[in-house]
């Protein structure tokens, strides 16, 4: 099935960089997100999730 992808893109110069680039974008996006989320302190997270409940 991936044959189809390869041949359609062959006309672009240096196309082989694209899959690598995509993988890197994805890898760093989700790793970054993981670090972002798990570096929160428990108290901060609790405080944030309480925002809608203390509004009136």
């Amino acid at each position: 099935m991936f044959e189809q992808i390869k041949h359609n893109m062959e006309t672009i110069d240096g196309v082989s960089i694209y899959p690598i680039l995509s993988l890197l974008i994805f890898f760093f996006f989700f790793v970054g997100l993981g670090i972002w989320v798990f570096s929160y302190k428990k108290e901060t997270i609790d405080e944030l999730s309480e925002i809608p409940l203390k509004d009136n």
Binding site: N8, M9, L53
Partner: protein
């Protein structure tokens, strides 16, 4: 710390709720009318502005932009003020947003039935209304961001991130999909053609679902479910992951609407891959919503608001499981073009959007009117009749879709199609269309019960007034990161930076998919025998667009044995290079028309458009009698249209444009001559001449009427490829 007093603007919330309810009833009523048109195709016989093709976009636009849109705005204005501890930035902008949006809806409700349509699904509105939408959307955005700037709560709660993503993404999608060249005040052509137009349209179409029906309602879920359950969201961490991964992945998934079409395969496969990935964030969000109710399930038994929310979130879960499955090529081969898709979108619309909106209305109105809901019993009744309505709507449509697809693909041992006549596959699913209409009736009944319940609640309650609140002012801190502050707490207190980052996240997918398709020429191989439409065919095509034929007929033959056998050779990208806009369609209530040219003679089309049942007994296509009216077709714009096409890259020569009207007349007269081959036509034609004379009306010859142009277009469809084949032989 000094407390500041201020008022929450409840009146704007009230207005949007009234609009939600009002347009909910209208949108659903139009939907139900359409459901009955499957059963009684000629129930509005001869009334052009009440025909199926024109009402279908009215239904989808009313439900998406009027009902769901207004519900989102109501919930957004209520929750945003409270989450930010501030009144909206400007009452004036709030009201401009409200009245502007309602005017746009009214404009849509008038122009769509009149046939002013660009034909691109969920983006049918013509260019002046598109511009108005852009302006009002920007007004809303300024009001949102302004409120964030004057807020009294440091952190922007996750619901607000969803609202922001909705704002920026819908703006981007709307602008790029509606780039069109105006020909007159109410006619324009998409600047993209064929495959490129299809890709941009479904990048938009899919993300209209994502960013108009999903992200805003997820924002509402993250606010109203914790409020109604009186406990914080299950996992705030999960909600952050949910947000970023959802907006990042969603934007890539559009091409799954174009599987097996002439779109380059790499784009199709990219769409599939991302659609599968989408399951993870979607279900993360669903689980987060449902688990917020952990420990309070006893409340769900008695509180109709929570009942609505639970079914809404469950519906979201089902639809977002089904979506990735439908994007698998093998499943899509069955489901696409059938009522399965109709079932799928209605699980989303009726359960997720509808029930979320109902729960929110039942929660908000009594609170703002400082009273109790008039009748819990009626609200429970609404819940049950609505749920039953969803089940009765969707299950028959799943069955219908699967059954019809199977019949389309059934072969006899000798290699012929078992159901060679498309109509056989339609008559088989008529009972399912009946059940669907009943399910829709139940759902609408529930909506009417809501109207009564809310009216009674408002009558018993006090007038909805602005609400006094107090909060300490936000102490100004450095706009840069303060010492020890990590990146994310900084980002989450900076609305502008957050917006920019969200925009970057959604642009990556769009850019990677769309730029190559538009830039790389080799993706669209040209076919030398494909020529621009003749002036008459061009006018006929515009009639095809005006009448909304694309709502029931596709123009895209997939590379399956069953389709090639039934319709002819598969679509090729090069066939559509002059199609501004593309007309591939997304549903086959009737057969595909890509290669219908030359299949029947002109008289067949003539009689069929007048009364489809006279040609195909049991057909559910309505007649198009107004195309035969004794008045000349409007050809005042023909040359201007050709000129616009030249601007868009269609190679009409100057001479062709100059002789446009003469060529049009010549071809039309030829068709009239063809029609005269049928003695019945000659007889009734002479009779109508006499009748016109008796009434003292001027008789317009057939070649000047609209029907001839539409026949010309029908007979052209797919013939370019046939010419090539016959030349080879």
């Amino acid at each position: 710390m000094e407390m500041q007093q201020f008022y929450y603007d409840n009146k704007i919330v009230k207005k949007f709720i009234y609009a939600t309810i009002h347009f909910g009833v209208v949108g659903m009523l139009v939907g139900l009318t359409l459901a009955f048109m499957f059963l009684f195709p000629n129930m509005t016989d001869g009334i052009s502005w009440l025909s199926y093709g024109r009402l279908r976009p009215l239904h989808t636009n009313a439900v998406i932009f009027a009902f769901v849109g207004n519900a989102f705005f109501a919930g957004m204005y209520y929750s945003m003020q409270r989450l930010l501890k501030a009144r909206m930035f400007s009452d004036f902008l709030s009201n401009v947003h409200f009245w502007g949006w309602q005017l746009i809806i009214v404009a849509a409700a008038i122009t769509l039935p009149l046939g002013y349509s660009s034909s691109k699904e969920y983006a049918e509105l013509e260019w002046p209304i598109d511009i108005a939408i852009t302006l009002i959307w920007v007004v809303m955005g300024i009001n949102m961001i302004g409120t964030m700037i004057k807020r009294r709560e440091r952190h922007l709660y996750v619901a607000i991130w969803f609202y922001l993503a909705t704002f920026v993404t819908v703006a981007v999608l709307h602008i790029f999909n509606n780039l069109e060249l105006p020909v007159s005040a109410f006619k324009s052509y998409s600047v993209y053609a064929g495959v490129q137009d299809a890709l941009v349209q479904w990048w938009y179409g899919h993300n209209a679902v994502a960013f108009f029906l999903t992200t805003p309602f997820l924002g509402l879920m993250y606010y109203f479910v914790p409020k109604a359950a009186n406990r914080p969201v299950y996992s705030y961490r999960l909600s952050i992951v949910h947000f970023w991964s959802l907006i990042f992945i969603y934007i890539w998934a559009g091409p799954h609407h174009l599987l097996y079409s002439a779109l380059p395969n790499w784009a199709q496969n990219l769409g599939v891959a991302f659609s599968i990935m989408l399951l993870a964030p979607s279900w993360g969000g669903m689980i987060n919503g449902l688990l917020t109710l952990r420990g309070v399930w006893d409340k769900v038994r008695v509180d109709p608001v929570l009942k609505f929310f639970v079914v809404a979130i469950t519906g979201y879960g089902m639809a977002t499981f089904e979506g990735p499955m439908l994007s698998l090529k093998n499943v899509n081969a069955i489901a696409h073009y059938t009522d399965w898709i109709i079932a799928h979108v209605h699980v989303g619309a009726l359960a997720w959007n509808g029930f979320m909106a109902f729960g929110m209305i039942y929660w908000l109105v009594p609170r703002m009117a400082k009273t109790n809901l008039y009748s819990l019993k009626l609200a429970n009744f609404h819940f049950w009749i609505g749920t039953l309505g969803i089940i009765l709507y969707t299950i028959p449509m799943y069955v219908a879709g699967f059954l019809q697809a199977s019949m389309w693909k059934q072969f006899n041992p000798d290699g012929t199609l078992t159901y060679g006549n498309f109509l056989e596959t339609v008559t088989q699913i008529m009972p399912m269309y009946w059940m669907r209409a009943i399910g829709g009736t139940l759902y609408l009944t529930g909506m009417l019960v809501l109207v009564y319940n809310i009216v009674q609640t408002l009558r018993a309650g006090s007038t909805i007034e602005d609400e006094l609140a107090e909060a300490p002012a936000l102490i100004r801190i450095s706009s840069g990161r303060i010492k020890g502050e990590k990146f994310h707490p900084w980002l989450e207190r900076k609305p502008i930076q957050l917006t920019i980052l969200a925009t970057v996240a959604i642009l990556i997918g769009g850019v990677i998919q769309i730029v190559p398709t538009i830039m790389v020429k080799s993706n669209i191989p040209t076919i030398t025998s494909v020529k621009p439409y003749s002036p008459l065919e061009l006018e006929g095509r515009d009639l095809y667009i005006r009448e909304g034929c694309v709502g029931c007929h596709s123009q895209s033959v997939r590379p399956f044995r069953s389709e090639v056998e039934r319709y002819g050779p598969q679509s090729k990208a090069g066939e559509f290079v002059y199609d501004h806009p593309f007309l591939w369609g997304s549903k086959r209530t009737g057969p595909d028309l890509l290669r219908v040219g030359g299949k029947y003679n002109d008289n067949w089309h003539f009689n069929h458009f007048w009364n489809p049942q006279s040609i195909s007994a049991g057909s559910i296509m309505p007649g198009y009698k107004w195309l035969f009216d004794n008045k000349p077709m409007d050809i005042s714009l023909t040359q201007k249209k050709m000129q616009a096409m030249v601007t868009l890259g269609v190679p009409y020569t100057e001479a062709q444009v100059a002789s446009g009207l003469d060529d049009l007349r010549k071809q039309a007269v030829l068709i009239e001559e063809n029609l005269k081959n049928d003695p019945d036509f000659v007889k009734s034609y002479e009779e109508s001449k006499k009748k016109a004379a008796a009434r003292g009306e001027k008789f317009v010859p057939m070649n000047e009427r609209e029907i001839v142009a539409l026949i010309a277009y029908m007979q052209r469809l797919g013939t370019d490829i046939k010419v090539k084949n016959s030349a080879k032989n």
